[in-house]
Amino acid sequence: MNHGPLLFLSALFSLSLSWFGFVFIPTWQLGGDQPEESVETGQTYPSPRPGLAQQGAEVYRANGCYYCHSQQVTQEPSDFDLTLTATGPNLAALGRVLSEEVRPDLAQAAAVNALGRLPMEIKGLDREFTEYLTNKLMEAGATLKVATVVAAPAAAKPGEVPAHPGDSFTVILTSAGKTPADVAKLLLRIRPSLGGGLTVPVVLARGLSKDDLDKLNKKLTTAGAKTLVKMNLRGVDMDRGWGRRRSVALDYLYDPVVMVGAQRMGPDLSNIGDRQHSRVWHLSHLFDPRIITSEESNAGVDSLMPAYPYLFTKRPRSTPGTPGYQQAIRLVGEQFEIVPKPEAEALVAYLQSLRSGPGLVEAPTPKAPAPAAPPVATAPTAATATSVPAVTPAKPAAVVTPAPEAPKPAPPAK
C-alpha cells in the first residue's frame, strides 16, 4: 500500500486545523472590527494616522526599531478590593461569616468594641455550659455574675435541650478585665452577632482574585450585608508610565503593518507621543542617543540604542536665511549642525503619533484622563530651531532660541 496520500492528508489536517484557529477564526472575529466609542472620552477610537506619521512607520520598519522596542502594554490580571458598606439586618450571620472565614480580626475588634458597653447578659444557658463558660471567662480575666432562673424550660432555645430541664442560667458579664481580646474571642463563639456590629464602610480585603472575590461576596451578601467591589488595574508597564491601560486589538486597527514587537531591549513605545512631545528631543536622540541619556540619567548608564546619524546631514553651522536653517538642530559645544532628512522628520511624526488610547469597555483606564497633550496635527514640526546640549552643559544656558515647543524637562528615561 502506498502511504503517500495518508501522509499528505495528515499534514493537511494538522495545517488546516491550526489555520482555522489562527487565521480563520481571528479574521472572522476581529477582521470586521470597527472603531469604537470610548467609554472614557465618548469619542470614536482609533482614527487613522496622518500621512507623515504613516511614512514614519515605514522608516521605523525599515530600520528595524521593532526588534528592540515593543508597542504592547501588558497588564497583570486585575485584582479586586472588597469593601463592606452596610451590615444589614442579620448581624449574627454576618458575624459568623466574618469571624469564621473573612476577617476574624475585624469581628474580634467589633466584639471588643461591644465589651465597652458592659454589663452584658448571656441568657438561657444550661448548667454544664455555664460552668464551662464562667471558668473560661475567668481564666481570661473577666469578672462576672451568674443568675439562675428556675423552671423556665420555655426559655431554652428550641432544639437545645437543657441537661436539667427547669434550670436555666444567665451569665452577667460586668468587666472584661485586662485582656478583652481573649474574652471577645470566647464571646464571639456564642454570640456571633457581636462580630457583625462593625462600623462601616470598612475594607475587608485587597488584591483578591476574581474567584476569591466571587466566593466571599456571595457569602457576605447571603448574610444580608452590602458590599462594594473595586477593580484594580495593576501593571508594571503602567507603573513605568508606558500606558494608561493594556493594549488591545483595537489599538492596532489602522496599522498597515502591526509591529507589536517581541523584545524589549528598549522601553515600550506605545505611548511615547504622550511621554515625549518634543521634536528636538526626538531628533537629537535619534542622532545620538548618548547625548540625551548621559544628560538625563543620573545612573550614568549610556544608552544601548544605536545611533542613526544617517538620517541626518551634518554640516557646519549655518546662518539665518540658509536653506534648512529653520529645521537644523545645533548641538551646543559642537561646531556643526544637523539637518534632519525627510525620513527623520517622518519618523519623529510617527513617534509623536504613538499615544495611549482612551479607556474602552474591554480595557478601562484606571484614572481620569491625563490633560490631553497637543495633537500631532497642530504640533509645530518645522518651525523649530533649537539647540540641545551636547553631552554635559547645564540646560538653560544651552537653549539658544527658545522653541515654541520648548523641550519639556523630559521625564527620566525609565
Binding site: N2, H3, L6, L7, F8, S10, A11, L12, F13, S14, L15, L17, S18, W19, G21, F22, V23, P26, T27, L30, G31, D33, R61, N63, G64, Y66, Y67, C68, Q72, T74, Q75, V236, D239, R240, R246, S247, A249, Y252, Y254, V257, V258, Q263, R264, M265, P267, P289, T293, A299, V301, D302, S303, L304, M305, P306, A307, Y308, P309, Y310, A413, K414
Partner: protein, 492 residues
C-alpha cells in the same frame, strides 16, 4: 489514523540490505545526488558563515550603539533580520532539504528524480535568498519576523522550493522499498507543510494584508509552523535516520515514533503567543497549552532515541558526525522542556518580551537543528564525492567551537533574559536599570557568537579542501577518461 498498521510494516533499521531487486545501489544514489546536493550543501555552508557574521555584528551592536553607526545597511535593525533570514532560508531550510532528498533516496532505494531540475531549483533558491538579503539590508524589511524578505524574493523562494520539493516527492513516490521508516513520515510532512504555510502567510501578510492584529495571529501561525512543523521534523528525521544507522542498532520502537509524529502534528502549528498578546484570550490559552503539550512528542522522541542508544552511549561520543547528532538530541530534549515550562502562564508572563525567548529560539534553531544538519553534512558529503574529509582536526575543532559557542551564547542570553524578566516585573525598577543588569550578558554573548563564526569557518575550510581534492580527482579522471563520470564517486 491507521498508524499502527504502518508501524508494523516499518523497518526498524534504515537501509540495511544493500540490494533488493530493481532498487538502486547506494553508489548509484550518491552519484545521482552528487550535483544538486553538493550545490545545496556548499551554499548552505557559505550562508551559515555569512549568517553567523551578521549575528556577530548584530550582537556587537546590541551593546555598542556607536559601532558602524554611519552605515544604514549595517544598523542593528537590519543586521538582525539579515542574520535570521540567511540562517533560516540560506542555511537551515536548504541544508534540511538537501538532507531530506538524500534520506528519501536512501530509504526508498531509488535514485534522485530530476537531479538537473533540482539543481536549477537550488540555484534559484540561492538567488532568492540573495535578493531577500539585499532587500532587508537596503531597508525593504516587511516587518514580519522570519519573512522579512521583500515580496519578489519570497516568490522566488516559493517557486524554487516547489521545484525542489516536487523532486523530493517524486523520489518518494518512485521508491522501490515500499516499507516506510519513521524518518520518512517526518520528512514528507515537512516537505508538504513548508510551502503551504509559507505561501499562505506571505499572501495574507505581504500581498493582501489582513487587518490589525489578525496579522499577529497569521504571523505566529507561520512562525510556529516553520519552527515546529518544518524544522523540527526535519531535525528529528535526521536523528531517527542517522543515529540508528551509524551505531548499527535498530530503532527502539517505530510505534512510539509514529505516536510522536501524530502528537507533533497536533501541537506544532499553535505555539508562540505570549500571555499579553493583544489577541482573543482563548487563542492565547490554546497557544500556551500547545507549547506545554509539545513536550509529549519531544519526550516520545527522546525516549525512543535513548532506548535505541542505551548501552552504547560511549559510541555517541566518538569523533565524527555522530557527536553532532548526540548534541542535537540532547538539545532537543532541553528545548522541549524549556518550551513547556515557559508556556505555563505565570512563567510566560515573566519571560515574555525578554531575551529568554531569543535564547530559546537559538536553542531550537542552532543547538538542535543546525547541529544535526552539520552532522548530516559531515556524513553525506564524503559519500557524494567519494573522499573522506581531508581534515579530521577541522571537524573536531568545529564540533568543540560549536559546542562552546552554543552553550555560552544560549546560556548567557538566557540568564540575561531571566534577569531582565525578573527585574521588569518589579514595581519601581527603572527600565534603564533593567537593561544595565543584562548588559554583561549581552557582552558575553558576543564571545559566543565569535566562537560560532570560528566553527563555521572550520567547516567551510574543510569543504574547500574537499573541493580541491575532488577537483583534482575529477581532473585526473577527465584526463584519463572521456566524460566526467567520476569513478571515485562509486566507492561507498
Amino acid at each position: 489514523m491507521s498508524g499502527s498498521s504502518i508501524a508494523a510494516q516499518a523497518s526498524t533499521l534504515p537501509d540495511t540490505s544493500e540490494h533488493v531487486g530493481a532498487s538502486a545501489s547506494p553508489a548509484e544514489i550518491d552519484t545521482s545526488c552528487r550535483g544538486p546536493l553538493l550545490l545545496m550543501f556548499g551554499s548552505a555552508v557559505l550562508w551559515v558563515v555569512l549568517a553567523s557574521v551578521f549575528g556577530l555584528l548584530a550582537s556587537v551592536k546590541l551593546h555598542s550603539g556607536e559601532f558602524l553607526a554611519h552605515c544604514p545597511w549595517l544598523t542593528y535593525g537590519r543586521l538582525y533580520p539579515a542574520f535570521t533570514n540567511t540562517f533560516l532560508y540560506g542555511f537551515a531550510i536548504q541544508a534540511g532539504l538537501a538532507t531530506a532528498l538524500w534520506i528519501l533516496c536512501r530509504l526508498g532505494r531509488t535514485t534522485l528524480q530530476g537531479p538537473g531540475v533540482t539543481m536549477v531549483g537550488a540555484g534559484f533558491w540561492n538567488l532568492g535568498v540573495t535578493v531577500g538579503l539585499v532587500g532587508i539590508l537596503a531597508g525593504y524589511n516587511t516587518g514580519f519576523e522570519w519573512i522579512e524578505m521583500p515580496r519578489h524574493a519570497v516568490l522566488l523562494l516559493f517557486i524554487s522550493y516547489a521545484v525542489i520539493a516536487v523532486q523530493g516527492l517524486l523520489t518518494f513516490h518512485a521508491r522501490s522499498e515500499r516499507q516506510l521508516y519513521p524518518a520518512q513520515w517526518y520528512l514528507v510532512a515537512a516537505l508538504f507543510i513548508f510551502p503551504w504555510a509559507f505561501s499562505a502567510a506571505s499572501y495574507l501578510l505581504l500581498c493582501h494584508p489582513v487587518r490589525g492584529v489578525v496579522q499577529l495571529a497569521v504571523h505566529t501561525w507561520f512562525a510556529s509552523n516553520l519552527q515546529y512543523l518544518v524544522l523540527l521534523p526535519l531535525g528529528v528525521a535526521n536523528l531517527y535516520y542517522f543515529i540508528p544507522k551509524i551505531l548499527q542498532r535498530p530503532l527502539h520502537n517505530s510505534n512510539l515514533a509514529l505516536f510522536g509524529f501524530g502528537t507533533l502534528l497536533l501541537a506544532g502549528g499553535w505555539i508562540g503567543l505570549t500571555v499579553s498578546s493583544p489577541l482573543p484570550a482563548w487563542l492565547v490559552s490554546v497557544s500556551l497549552i500547545a507549547g506545554t503539550f509539545l513536550l509529549v512528542p519531544i519526550l516520545a522522541t527522546a525516549v525512543n532515541l535513548h532506548r535505541t542508544v542505551s548501552g552504547a552511549y560511549r559510541q555517541m561520543e566518538a569523533a565524527g558526525p555522530i557527536r553532532f547528532f548526540g548534541f542535537s538530541a540532547v538539545s532537543l530534549l532541553i528545548a522541549g522542556l524549556v518550551t513547556a515550562v515557559i508556556s505555563l502562564p505565570d512563567a510566560n508572563r515573566s519571560v515574555q518580551l525578554t531575551q529568554l525567548l531569543t535564547a530559546l529560539r537559538l536553542l531550537w534553531l542552532y543547538a538542535f537543528f543546525a547541529m544535526g544538519a552539520f552532522g548530516a553534512i559531515y556524513y553525506i558529503v564524503p559519500k557524494l564525492v567519494g573522499i573522506e574529509w581531508p581534515s579530521r582536526k577541522l571537524m573536531n575543532a568545529h564540533f568543540w567551537l560549536a559546542v562552546m559557542g552554543t552553550v555560552l551564547t544560549i546560556g548567557v542570553v538566557a540568564a540575561g533574559g531571566f534577569i531582565q524578566g525578573h527585574e521588569m516585573g518589579k514595581l519601581g525598577v527603572p527600565f534603564v536599570d533593567v537593561i544595565k543588569l543584562t548588559l554583561p550578558a549581552l557582552r558575553f554573548s558576543t564571545l559566543g557568537e565569535l566562537l560560532l563564526v570560528a566553527g563555521h569557518v572550520m567547516l567551510l575550510a574543510n569543504l574547500l579542501l574537499v573541493c580541491r581534492h575532488f577537483g583534482r580527482a575529477c581532473a585526473t579522471q577527465v584526463a584519463g577518461w572521456c566524460g566526467c563520470t567520476v569513478k571515485a564517486g562509486g566507492k561507498r
